[in-house]
């Protein structure tokens, strides 16, 4: 089966630190990584390929350095990599991004399954997956934690809900987004790393995927970031030391004062 995995390169938000003097966020020198949720998508794609045959194509939209993310995906076992890269994509919101990605997927041609990570750790929107499904007019299953089976042109999965999970069957081709629970991603092999170094990355701009520049980038994005600001600082007190009984009394008094209990 032909599997397309959509990935995004993101800043590693977990290495953002706080400047002890100015108490502001220091974002300089933050390394770029594959979005953590996309690691599960790549792994699931590779596992399906190992089980059912076929190939895994990784697709990303991003600036020139996003190529590193594609090479990493190849080192893990992806077969081909496509990079949608064009200055016209700059500032794309989720509508414009899903439009461009779906145009890229149409150019790739026939596929059975598209796998996305649940959401990207920088934007946290989880909107691009469903956006691609609509633009390609295929069914979607969002927040999948397990693939039960794939056969006769259909996929059966477990999808998480607030209370537990749903077992859902969908016709293929379809798009699924996956959560962490689905697998434990592998590490790249030495052979994979060698392959990644030499791999040819296909680069497509707006001309290659045949999209109107007005539909992508800021021009194609109905939403506009008006302002970015730091969240209000939390009021934190010095931790208390002492005997458990005293600590508990002191805490219960505070909670009662705050009308929590």
């Amino acid at each position: 089966m032909n599997i397309i995995v959509c990935i995004k390169q993101v800043p590693d938000t977990t290495s953002v630190r706080i400047d002890p003097e100015t108490r502001t966020l220091v974002r300089e020198g933050v390394p770029s990584i594959i979005n953590p949720f996309d690691m599960f998508a790549i792994e699931e794609g590779i596992r399906l390929k190992e089980k059912h045959g076929g190939k895994v194509i990784v697709l990303t939209l991003g600036p020139p350095q996003a190529e590193d993310a594609l090479r990493e995906a190849i080192s893990l076992g992806a077969d081909e990599a496509i990079h949608l890269c064009d200055v016209a994509f700059k500032g794309s919101d989720t509508l414009a991004t899903s439009f461009a990605l779906s145009a890229g997927i149409r150019k790739i041609g026939a596929f059975d399954l598209i796998i996305c990570g649940k959401q990207a750790s920088d934007g946290d929107t989880a909107q691009v997956g469903p956006g691609i499904a609509v633009q390609l007019n295929i069914p979607q299953i969002i927040f999948v934690r397990r693939i039960e089976e794939i056969q006769e042109g259909a996929i059966v999965v477990e999808r998480i809900s607030e209370e537990g999970f749903d077992v859902v069957r969908s016709a293929l081709p379809a798009l699924i987004s996956v959560v962490k629970e689905i697998n434990q991603p592998r590490l790249p092999s030495l052979k994979g790393k060698m392959k990644a170094k030499k791999a040819e990355i296909t680069k497509w701009g707006i001309a290659e995927i045949g999209v109107d520049p007005g539909r992508v980038g800021l021009d194609g994005s109905p939403t506009w970031v008006e302002k970015i600001f730091s969240p209000p600082e939390r009021e934190a007190h010095e931790p208390w030391h002492g005997e458990p009984d005293d600590l508990v009394k002191k805490l219960a008094d505070e909670l009662e004062k705050a009308k929590i209990i």
Partner: protein, 398 residues
Amino acid sequence: MAWLEVVAEKCVGCGACIKACLYDALALEDKLAVVKENCTLCGACLDSCPFEALVMRKTEPPAQVAESYKGVMVVAEQKRGQLQSVSYELLGVGRRLAEDTESSLSAVLIGDGVDSQAQRLIAYGADRVFVAQSGTLGLYNDESYAAVLTRVIREQKPEIVIAGATCIGRALIPRVAVQLQTGLTADCTGLDIQEETGYLVQTRPAFGGNIMAMILCTRARPQMATVRHKVMKALAPDENRKGEIIRVALDEKELATRTTVLKSVEEAADTIPITEADIIVSGGRGMGSTGKFSVLFELAKALGGAVGSSRSAVDAGWVPYAYQVGQTGKTVQPKLYIACGISGAIQHLVGMQSSDVIIAINKDPEAPIFKVATYGLVGDLFEIIPRLTQEIKSRKMQ
């Protein structure tokens, strides 16, 4: 076209913007900030400049927004025929937005056998409720729900549409927004009307809660947002409130779908899910084993809350993934979060640092969790938690 401009007359070359950039896309050349080609126009640097030397420019076609869009619409959520509490919260904020825009508040309810629920939506603030009912709409379905909702929005032309940022909302609403070719802002924690323009100002956390973004949808209608559960307040219900219930005629074609829910399973039914809880008692590496989580369950029960965990407790197999709070788990914002034996890695903090009150209990006084804790207790959680449970029980009895 759009670009980030450095106003040369204002830039002093201090480098503050370089520190603010997540993409290493700003540099200093001849004591002047320059924008490199890998800039993604995310805007994170704009606020960092003390001299207002960074400006986002764009050539934009003038906003052409149809005047005919009016009113606020709430997408109600039901499961097994019962309204989910997020629906009431949406009506609470929807009511305020309707008043600020001098318009009315409607709700859309899709399901099967949900008549009595429509009346409740009116009691909580809706002026009109559009009810789409069918035997095939009892369980949530991405395609049919999106088709019905898209058509209702096309016909009613609301200026604002809001829905819950729940598992269903986050699957359904992006489909609808793309079909309508309009903007959508995910997981908002604040919604207000901008006085000068009348635009909906959508505030949301990004980069794992490290920054907040204010987003506008200036060029398309409706303005759509999903809203984080437990952040907005519901109004007190008024059973005498009058409203209109309108049946939505359904087209067979809209109900056609390529996906089927074979079964719906509830797990961990002995506790409320962490996304529904006002109080969460979470355990981390310091718990040591599955069995020892029982002290947390007892405290959660005494407080009427839920039990959560850090990633390490899930990875160790002590509790299921559904309990996990943090970057690869769930983001929660309860009134009270009690972190027990959790050191406070940034991956965990991004999932809970917006909680109203945070209590941390940890042996290590240097644990980073204390930096965000309203109250920090240094000590052995197995000595402290059972005593706290007892203390709360006895105070509740009084």
